[in-house]
Amino acid sequence: MNLQAEIPLDYMIVLSTIVFFVGLMGVLIRRNLITMLMGIELMLNAVNINFVAFNHYLFPNRLEGHFFALIVMAIAAAEAAIAIALIINIYRQFNTVSVDDVDELKY
């Protein structure tokens, strides 16, 4: 299947850009820590699309993007585990998961 002829690389990257900034917006507007974490997952995935797409379109003779995406996934898993542990701890401490109420560290 010759994907290069059908779908230009630009499409892929614009798609990843959109997902990335949607994820960023999720981080910015949602006050619930878990939804913020979901936004971060979206951003990570958008980056993964980039890696994979560049690998596929520009350097098909190697697998660097592929492996990078694989490692990003592993790191995302670790990050999610840590983040959720932190969220649970914050929930115990403040009895809330709203980021607005966790503002002890300020002036």
């Binding site: 290069q4 798609l15 003779n61």
Partner: protein, 169 residues
Amino acid sequence: MTGPKIIFFILAAAIVVFSILSIFSRRILRAAIYLLFVLVAMAGLYYMMNFQFLAAVQLMLYAGGIVVLIIFSILLTSQIDSKLQAPKGSHLLAGGITAIAGIALSAITILQFTFKPSQENAVGTDMRTIGLQLMNTDVQGYALPFEVISVLLLAALVGSIFIAQKKKV
């Protein structure tokens, strides 16, 4: 319109729509499910690009692991039927401006740039090749990142247990 193109647009539309829904949904469990759809659609995208292994990992790790983890934590910290607070106006404005400006800036930059497609022959992405490269220490080998990531995962495992455990106070 050819087949791949149609599939791509369906997947892209699904990704964009569900990701937007995921961040705007006021019910948190639904947001998680929308995220799941986005991740599944991305797995389809990888599959289209001939990375079957990656697509499988995406499904297993994200759909099967992370989303389940997120749902667990949702259940631990909030009521299922409780609605999230609506975003604050100032946040919405700031976030929206940043997102739109970012998309615009990036898209313009990307579209102005002409990528040169490679003429090289593609290597196979079968399990054998991936396995050999992952365990190799040659130029195209990834044994070191593999080992490092294993240490990282171990540290994350221990760390998350330590952080989440009940303090003996």
